[in-house]
Symmetry: C2
Subunit: 237 residues, 2 copies
Amino acid sequence: MARPNLSTASRRLEAGASAESVADTLRRAVLAHRVAPGVKLSEEEVGNALGVGRTIVREALRTLAHEHLVEIHRNRGAFVVRPDKREAIEIFEARSLLEPRTARSAAERAVYADVSDLRRHLTEESEAMAVGDSGRAVYLSGQFHVQVARIANQITIARFIESLVLRSSLIVALYWRRPSAMCECHAHEALVDAMAAGDGARAEEIMRGHLVDLLSGLDLAERPRSDVSLAAALKGL
Amino acid sequence: MARPNLSTASRRLEAGASAESVADTLRRAVLAHRVAPGVKLSEEEVGNALGVGRTIVREALRTLAHEHLVEIHRNRGAFVVRPDKREAIEIFEARSLLEPRTARSAAERAVYADVSDLRRHLTEESEAMAVGDSGRAVYLSGQFHVQVARIANQITIARFIESLVLRSSLIVALYWRRPSAMCECHAHEALVDAMAAGDGARAEEIMRGHLVDLLSGLDLAERPRSDVSLAAALKGL
DNA sequence: GGGCTAAGAATTGCCAACAATCTTTGATCT
DNA sequence: AGATCAAAGATTGTTGGCAATTCTTAGCCC
């Protein structure tokens, strides 16, 4: 029986790995497309792959279900979600309500350290993109938005944005038109500039446009639903 | 040892009660102030009170923790949250970003059945208030907002609003100035009227003002942190 | 051959017991 | 008396196993 190697990227969790570690590993695996949407995440398989008991995995899967990254069907198991067109639009609709105003607040509150953190983050992004690690690039690109929300010092809104960004990353990984050339991220740089200048109105407008660009950069045509079963996914590795 | 009677309102769950039922019972108990903020929700106590095993209770408590209605401290247990001033403001800030625009969408999409459902809901609200069941009144008043979000047909945003409304209900129950006279809900009626007329702009404006009124109706002065322990809470019943 | 039924296998749901951790209580020392 | 420390008690964290449900497969009938 082929062992699934979910943990290649996460250097096998040491003993005492809590459910949160497992959830984090699975989260990254889903976002990096190491496990394709629709794949079933068997409790025992995941447990064996990560070296933890089924209970821990159960809890981690429940966490991911709360984040809408997996769906749990009673007595059937957990499956990686496959966001459809409607869901994609809804998520970007929600982001459009939250993020522009939050970016404005962030720009008005940002101190030097904040801006410098963001710039460091941008270089990480471009490095990942230069190396061609598109999984990491998508992830970092999302975390940029989370970081902006944190600067706005609104942890409730920041958490919502974090959740939306996670799901957006999955959507981008699924539907992005040009798999090679990621979002050029000029928007991110412009946003940091606006924040450095303390120009809230400009930051708000940049963010609004950026979100529109992101959504319109997707190809939301209905896909043939590859419907990969667990076997196919594991064989592929 | 006094048995806690959390289940008085929920007619003791039948066998096969899933974790979601327990979560729902606890949710209502927290919102109706049957269990005060700060109280510890022991897994075994809750399990005994509701006639289910500890595993089910554990799962339910995790769910509530994801909703920020309880806090789980490792190896220490789950405690009902006590929202502070900052959290209250943050939550209404988030609602102000989401709900006005959502109310506009709802007004523009609402069909006759939607409006009629809302009117029925309003009568339930006033009945609960007339009877003096303030716990139920607060709950229904919150559900009104959720229902509006559902009419907007944006389930992602509706879920966020639902989560925010739950926490708001707890905040209102904690900090409302006049415990007797609840929000007169003229705003709710006006909102339904605007929706019936299909006037999105008016609905948006009413919702915006309503949220401001709600927040300014709170007395957010720091409280002495009664810090009720489990014993005190159970003795009181 | 296609479709239906039933037995078997595999997986999740749940519970009870054990282990780990924290809190409390009581004694001891300064 | 107050503080410190240790052991007992209580609660959560985790594991393994059994029961319940679902999916698969083999067999049968039309």
